[in-house]
Amino acid sequence: MHADLWKKVEELYHAALAQPPEKRVAFLAQACPDPQVRGEVESLLEQNADSFLESAPLLAIKALGPGVNLGKFEIVELVGRGGMGEVYRARDTRLKRDVAIKVLPADLARDPDRIARFEREARAASALNHPNIVSVYDIGRDNDTYWIASELVSGESLARIIEHGPLPPRKAIQIAVQIADGLAAAHAAGIVHRDLKPANIMVTREGRVKILDFGLAKHCHAPADSTSSGLTEEGTVMGTPQYMAPEQLAGKEADARSDLFAFGAVLYEMATGRKAFEGNSQATLIAAILKDDPPPMATLQPLTPPALEHVAETCLAKDPEDRWQTALDVLLELKWIAEAGSQAGIQAPVISRRKGRPLLSWAIATTASLAFLALAVVHLREKPSQVQPVRFQIAPPGKVTLGWVGTPVIAPDGRHIVFSGMDLGGKDHLWLHSLDSLATQALPGTEYAYLAFWSPDSRFIGFFTRDGKLKKIDTTGGAPETLCEAEWPAYGGAWNPEGIILFSASFNYTGLLRISAAGGEAKPALELNKSRKEYLQHWPDFLPDGRHFLYLSISANANESGIYVASLDSKETHRLISAGSNVRYAPPGFLVYARQETLLAQHFDAGRLRTIGAPFPIAEHVWGMPLAPGSVFSVSQNGVLAYRTSGSSDVQLAWYSRDGRRLESVGAPGIYGQMALSPDEQRLVVERPDGAKNVTNLWILELASSIFSRLTFSDETDPVWSPDGREVVFVSYRGNKRRLYRKVVGGGEETVLFEPDEILYPENWPGDGKSIIMINVGGRVFSQLPLSSERRPVLLLKSQFAKDEPHVSPDGRWIAYDSDESGQWEVYVAAFPGFTEKRQVSNNGGGQMLWRKDGKELFYLALDGKLMAVDVKAGATIETGVPKVLFQTPITVRPTDGQFCVTGDGRRFLFGEPVGEAGKAITVVLNWASGLEHYVLVNH
């Protein structure tokens, strides 16, 4: 292209663009005789580049993967993801052997001292040459990636081996001897492991023991100075303290004897198959390590030689002075036991416990470690750098899983956390966890609660229930009181010191509402701003003055959306942060909000109502909110942050046979929502959330080839196949309207099927093809939408109880569905469409019942995930047999979703196997804001 030619092209292009489209051709023909120029202009006019280059390019990260080189090593594949980083198999291109490369988290990369020390230790570890220690070959750095190349061990970790049960004493001793041998060699070289545990001990096929990760644990967990707890480092999440010695937990440096404590715990576990210390939360586990004695090994495994028990016991002494003082002593003792065979009771040679070391006094336990024990109210210090953030996890008790939202909400005084959790009955409750006593209890009367918030005095909890109410409960006792109606789902509530509650609960596009905690009528608090085309106000949160409040505003103009501040006393609002997330104010002056899975904090002047400086991250892997953009987290008034940890929510779709045999995987692991099998069983339609855009799309999976193709492109859910398998009906939220659409699979237009006044979901399209069964929000009403021109829903069944998953029988005479009217979700069958002759089919809870093609069998999921089958005899009336168990699935059952599919012949089942540990735990961080000064660019 010539510059002169180009100038002409440019002029003509813009001139032509100024013409109305239909006149352009004519204009060009007249204005430009030169065919070459005209041709250029025409081809440019054809291009639609409106969205081209409009979003910033994305910097793709050089991920480590096959073919990538680190030094002289070439990566072959990822072999594992441990607590301390990823491990790859790699090839030493010069020596032609396979090695293991461990890539370390680059939190280290910030501190040059730490790096220097890491290198020194790695060098020392590499000098260790012992058959029971994994050899370190090389270390290196690739930009900010620090890596270690070491011997590649093939075998199983001790953790894996112990999963199968306790080891016979002979085997346990053989392994223990090798561990002690390795430890002794390392200690002699002045290297302490610091993180010895079964996961770090490999056993090869030949029975050779190899200890991994010598001397490295310190750099990943321990701090630069000795005054802080050995558990956390600038807020990095600590691994389990399961094998840590009491003095390590109290904040002292680990020494050889701490390794021996861990050794004792490992030995205990090998012999008994049980962990030496247990607790259902980190805090209780730590308390157990500090105070409790493990149950005597002989009571768990009577065949344990007393001498072996004695070794373990001595290693597990609380005071390091009372333990074996060197690994060499332990080694000699164990060798003696091995040689002496099972001659229990024979006097062991007395090995004097050398107490030559100077008396090590217990270091003064820091505030951080005390906080671990006391977990009482923590105050932010004047000099935050002295108090480190302390992070730990809480898991809901036993069989309780975090509810659909499950936000852990900390009380303002930081002593309690309330969250909604679902037990096996499938019903959400509020659970109250005390950070002092570490007890968790269900709050009676809080059924169907899904979202909660505290009163400022930490005494009352306001909460929303699935049946559309806002209630409050006094935590000191008494039944909950209903305050008003609050349509599900509600988008947050806040309670100010004067007892005014702000909340957002309505799909009908009104702004925030207010009501007095003492009762009364709910009134609008803040009008929607018409000039901004604001249509949603969610997640209110009061500022300290109790009059101003924060909220998330969503407008039709996306660039007006964001976190705003307003007040009860005026109509003025202004935007603080342009982020699409819920927000909370945290003293002494932060706004905390989310961006994808990261929580950010932003300095905020609550007096002048403005943000200061740039936001900085304070937590990662935070569970995203299912209700709307944002994350599931809360903060207290005194530096406690709680959030629901995300994790991989991945699921692997797989076919299983009736007898529970796994037949094959389908596709790659991913996050899949509801799914439905096409009538010809060749395809699956499935919901797939798009985390980045916070929408859900529907995809079609060809089962034979495992190829996915996208069916919908905006935001759609709840897919239902037509009986002829040609179409899918679904709900779409595009254009902020909720409509039912129908679409022919494999081409073609989507047509609007129905635009309801209220929220309705399609559930089933019975065989005669003439209508669609729908359900409303909350599941109180089943209705039937005829597909004739008369497009008005007909009421089928309405009751005060929740129900879901209606499926009409193949012959069209019966309908299966589930309901919690008995107090627990059960599956029922009734005549269709009258819902007479109702029969309960399940005998102990169940949901999601599907028909076999011949109508002679029904399948459903019991609440604990067992797949159940029921014989059906349908004639004038219907009779169902006793449910029988087919097999146990790993599904966490939600009665209101479609989580499995069955082929027409009832022989094969398709569902997702959970791959990761998604969203099961709550992470609590004490003093989250301490030590953060240096992150902020103060910019007054």
Binding site: L17, A49, F52, L59, I61, K62, G65, P66
Partner: protein
């Protein structure tokens, strides 16, 4: 710590703005260093395999390196211009490297992020864009600059106009035509334009 780092860059920026061209040579490695550092920091904080908006990088580099109290609107525009060019180089270098390698440099499909596939295909697209931009610069350097500033630097129309010393309307027209030309060049012949 932040304050100290911003001194040399602010100085250089001001002197360059005042007409001292040599300062640009000193400035560029400092800015590039910071951009790379920030990029790596973000990458470490996000899960490996994530992608990152370059405009966020450029903005953060600006916040970190420049003392806003001392520079003005014009200086900022100049800084962003430099950053945009550097960002483009970093990105394209990166992309070219990914296109090499026996197995395509490691294709990872991220389960949640449809569309953020870290793959040779996307890197190749970026390399193609770079090549096309170089070609455009051959006969219309200003348009190539507009694209560089807006796309790689994330600058607004006003900022771009400021940086180039032209009217914002000129920027709008340049941007429109440049995009259309680039799109045409980058669309494989015979492919169905969506």
């Amino acid at each position: 710590m932040e304050g100290r780092r911003s001194e040399p860059v602010t100085e250089l920026l001001l002197r360059w703005g005042a007409g001292n061209q040599e300062c640009l040579n000193e400035l560029m490695p400092l800015v590039e260093g910071e951009l790379r550092r920030i990029a790596h920091r973000y990458m470490r904080m996000e899960r490996r395999g994530h992608t990152l908006q370059t405009t966020a990088l450029v903005n953060e580099a600006y916040l970190k390196l420049v003392d806003h109290a001392r520079v003005d609107w014009q200086n900022r525009a100049q800084f962003l211009g430099v950053a945009a060019r550097l960002m483009r180089h970093i990105l394209v270098d990166h992309a070219r490297e990914l296109c090499r390698g026996k197995r395509g440099g490691g294709a990872y499909v991220l389960p949640l992020d449809e569309g953020l596939v870290f793959s040779p295909a996307k890197s190749a697209a970026l390399v193609a864009l770079d090549d096309a931009l170089n070609e455009l610069a051959g006969f219309d350097p200003r348009k190539a600059q507009v694209v560089e500033l807006r796309y790689f630097g994330g600058m607004s129309v006003e900022e771009t106009a400021e940086a180039l010393g032209v009217h914002p309307n000129t920027v709008i027209r340049d941007w429109r035509l440049a995009k259309v030309w680039l799109k045409r060049e980058l669309t494989p012949k015979g492919a169905n334009a969506r």
